[in-house]
């Protein structure tokens, strides 16, 4: 035992001053996905340096596992010069451990239109892409022993500010209206919310979040609905996922953030699966679209062109026809009955990593 301990101490000592460089530009969810790798590198004694975009800077600030962040301005380097840019960053840092997560998920298990597999039959796409993103990230990094759930760090002030949004004595539900693309919009939010208010009346408080465009989707106004799309930062939205009683979200950064906590979460999955996203999350209830085109595992840039579109709502077929409002309502109802009406969860902040 002692020998083992000495061995470990020596190993940790030998790692001291060793540097790990991570490059990751991408969407919010992509940033959350690399947090287990960052954590693991820190455990292994590395000084962790992250070269990341504005989104990464925002989401991963205050992460105690990151020693230094090198900002990358999305517009400063043309795409065809990125390889050169990465090479320069690497040469400057001279890391002992290096990983560039570009295309670790996208183009690997989420197919880009430039890839031949993008148009392969569903079965073949399923075989290749139905893998957990956290497993894939760990594999890409070539590390073992990473957590399979993410971790985010918020300051006390951030948490206090977020708590201010909650309503005492009510079941606080955080509903993410959309993700990075319009194909993630769930068009039947109003119907489901309406049903929820009919059943639970004053017992629930729904907080809707998203970007500014999502304000178009916030058509219901009620004193128990707090419409915050475009009004709060992504960090605050993510912080809320650890404070509310239930998170409902399509495949977004918010959903990944909710994976940090035990908060019950209902994932509305169109182009991805529960295996991809929520496999390791605690208290996760994925609803996968039930229609022929889903899951497509495709990166969608313009759903009007790339997806079958439901003609009335103009939403992607998987969200409009693949996930019925009844199923969503029933699942929310079930989770509220099971997890939120136990008299202890409502409005009691859960354990959150803090700085």
């Amino acid at each position: 035992m002692e020998i083992q301990l000495i061995h470990m101490v020596r190993k940790v000592k030998s790692m001291k001053n060793k540097t790990a460089l991570i490059i990751r530009y991408g969407a919010y969810g992509d940033m959350v996905m690399i947090t287990p790798v960052i954590k693991r590198l820190k455990e292994l004694g590395y000084k962790v340096i992250l070269n990341t975009s504005k989104r990464g800077m925002e989401i991963l600030q205050h992460d105690t596992n990151i020693d230094k962040m090198i900002p990358y301005n999305d517009e400063s380097v043309p795409i065809d010069k990125l390889n050169e840019h990465w090479k320069k960053v690497k040469e400057k840092i001279k890391p002992d451990w290096f990983c560039n997560f570009t295309e670790s998920i996208e183009c690997n298990v989420a197919l880009h239109p430039i890839q031949p597999m993008y148009i392969y039959p569903k079965e073949e796409r399923y075989e290749r892409c139905n893998r957990n993103y956290y497993d894939v990230t760990e594999e890409w990094a070539g590390l073992e022993g990473c957590d399979k759930i993410p971790s985010l760090y918020f300051t006390k002030t951030e948490k206090e500010d977020a708590k201010y949004i909650l309503k005492d004595g009510k079941i606080n539900i955080l509903w993410a209206m959309s993700g990075s693309g319009r194909q993630k919009v769930y068009p039947w939010v109003d119907y489901v919310m309406g049903e929820l208010f009919l059943k639970y009346k004053e017992k629930i408080h729904i907080i809707t979040i998203g970007d500014e465009k999502c304000q178009l989707l916030e058509s219901l106004i009620d004193r128990n609905i707090t419409n915050l799309s475009g009004k709060i930062t992504m960090r605050m939205s993510m912080c809320l996922t650890g404070l509310v009683d239930l998170v409902i979200s399509p495949d977004t950064g918010v959903l990944h953030a909710s994976g940090c906590y035990e908060t019950p979460k209902i994932a509305l999955l169109g182009h991805t699966t529960g295996e991809n996203i929520t496999k390791y999350f605690k208290n996760a209830y994925p609803i996968e679209a039930n229609c022929a085109c889903a899951p497509c595992f495709r990166l969608i840039y313009d759903h009007g062109i790339q997806c079958p579109v439901e003609p009335v709502t103009k939403a992607a077929w998987c969200m409009a026809e693949g996930i019925s409002p009844e199923i969503v309502f029933n699942k929310i109802d079930e989770v509220i009955q099971m997890r939120c009406l136990d008299g202890k969860s409502s409005n009691i902040p859960k354990e959150m990593s803090s700085v």
Binding site: C293, C296, C307, P308
Partner: protein, 265 residues
Amino acid sequence: MEKAQIFPKKCPVCKTETNFVHNVFESKIDENAIWYYCPCGITFQSEFPSHSVYDSEYVKTYKEMKEGKARQEYASRLYAPIIEETTYGRMMLDVGFTISTTMDYFEKRGWIVWGIDCNKDIIGKGNIYQGDFVTYDFQPHIDKTTLEAAIGKDAEVKRTFDLIWMSHVLSHFNDPIAALEKAIDLLSYSGMIYISVPDIDFICKTGVPGYPHWNKREHYTLWTKRALVNVLEKLGMEIILSRRNFSSRFHTWYDVQILAQKKYF
């Protein structure tokens, strides 16, 4: 056979009068039919087919065809990758499907499939319509006020398809041009159409008695490749592929197969 006076008739496709006539005896049904040949490449019957044959027995014939599923699926297996490469969307309509083999195949590949057939005995699950393709209204019917409230005044609600599959159905329509126009109108901006029709040019190989597609109860028009290409191009379609097929790996042969796409740039 009773002697009948034969008058020139207008071609249903190019509208020119013609008096080239074949008198064809169909031994299978023990009946004669008068077929007009038009220099535009169309051969058409003197009268509309009775269409009385579309019933459960008709469906059964397709179901019990030797190597049926494999042969009915063969065209979709062959052309699906080209279609998927050429158009993005994944909404498909199978016109006159009789049995759901093609739809099932496309569904497995990740397509949202729809089907329409005039056969009263068609069976199947999902988005199946029973009716005449040309007159059927595919558009969603939503109360105008509700619609305007939901998506604004000028919002257009139109159901479109990225692929319309017309395997051996065009020759059954009394107005094939109307059927093609309807199909093209239903296509999305880059939508594709697959058409296979009996190719009358094969009589040069089989001779008139040996040609297998004289079928007075079902077929009104028989096509040549040039006629079909010409019509589709006139209707604004781009021909992606056109070929004459004599292989019985397909569920029918001595036909022409065409993949055409809406011109979108």
